[in-house]
Symmetry: C2
Subunit: 181 residues, 2 copies
Amino acid sequence: MQVIKTSIEGLIELRPQTFKDSRGSFLETYNQPVFNALGLPAQFVQDNQSFSTKGVLRGLHFQKEPFAQGKLVRVITGKVMDIAVDLREDSPTFGKYEAFILDSEISNMAYIPEGFAHGFVALEDSIFSYKCTNVYNKACESGIIWNDPDLNIDWGISNPIVSDKDQQLASFRDLYPQSVT
Amino acid sequence: MQVIKTSIEGLIELRPQTFKDSRGSFLETYNQPVFNALGLPAQFVQDNQSFSTKGVLRGLHFQKEPFAQGKLVRVITGKVMDIAVDLREDSPTFGKYEAFILDSEISNMAYIPEGFAHGFVALEDSIFSYKCTNVYNKACESGIIWNDPDLNIDWGISNPIVSDKDQQLASFRDLYPQSVT
Ligand SMILES: Cc1cn([C@H]2C[C@H](O)[C@@H](COP(=O)(O)OP(=O)(O)O[C@H]3O[C@H](CO)[C@@H](O)[C@H](O)[C@H]3O)O2)c(=O)[nH]c1=O
Ligand SMILES: Cc1cn([C@H]2C[C@H](O)[C@@H](COP(=O)(O)OP(=O)(O)O[C@H]3O[C@H](CO)[C@@H](O)[C@H](O)[C@H]3O)O2)c(=O)[nH]c1=O
């Protein structure tokens, strides 16, 4: 497993090894002792899977305390641009984001720690899968509008398909008034 | 989550709920508190994914103690016939098997406890995924030949694509000489 650091502390990209033969392919998508050895969170309690048609944007989402979630994200078919925004108020990169291309051809993944907002846009019809360090809790759901002017994320798409719920999300400025000057 | 018992104690089929909307779909493929509440093993330490072209047969596999694995199996794309053989020597259904059609259209899964041999044949090009209660251990790998005359499994296919390794697997009779009369 290849581990690639990003410019944001704790946010990393992972590239597991794929074994190919005449039948097809095989890969380990998660291995607790390997994650432990890498110093990564190794206790995931929920796995989710979504299908999105090309042009769908889901996000930016996070759950509030005490249900904050670390997420191990990847795609199984297709390709997405994945975005993680650092919302840890004591972090030197607070308010900064990182973009990953998650591609089923290379089976790369990203580990997004607790304290981040997360979203993605489907560059192709894509099956997206993620593991969570904490369970779903409707009452703790929160988020930031995808096209927030302060975060200024380059999604590479101007008219994504966004759920009604995601169109109602707050602005970064509303959530962190003290942080925007 | 719908839980369907089989004729073999401990071997069950699961049907999670899928939410569809204009973006695509969403489902929880694993939820530890839900599994706990159902009395199912809820500690999985490894997730694997394989791709098989139509006609590939993988199996029958198991790991020996102390690395016996319970497996939560499903398909993400395509369709397979999945086979679980009871090898628990104190079980009333020892030597019996159950077949499941795992279909990505309905996202059904099977939970196969420790003490079973497992295999599947791909009815279509299929992405297969499974969670394990114990890690991979090469030295503990074992198995039974897919077309074993005593197990007499109806695979519905006469010339599957089988790995060299799987063609060398032992017979049920060799592994359990005292059980076949
Ligand atoms: C997140 C979640 C949702 N649901 C249900 C509630 C809804 O009926 C349905 C869809 O939920 P939505 O809130 O629209 O999900 P969606 O916008 O796709 O967002 C989720 O899925 C995204 C990936 O698909 C993640 O990036 C988000 O963090 C996550 O919140 O699934 C669950 O049953 N369990 C869950 O964990
Ligand atoms: C099972 C396993 C295998 N491997 C490596 C070893 C090989 O280089 C490669 C393929 O291994 P094989 O032993 O040929 O895997 P395969 O015949 O598909 O069987 C495995 O995968 C099947 C599903 O794909 C399971 O039903 C079997 O229980 C499991 O043993 O993957 C791992 O790195 N980790 C693993 O957990």
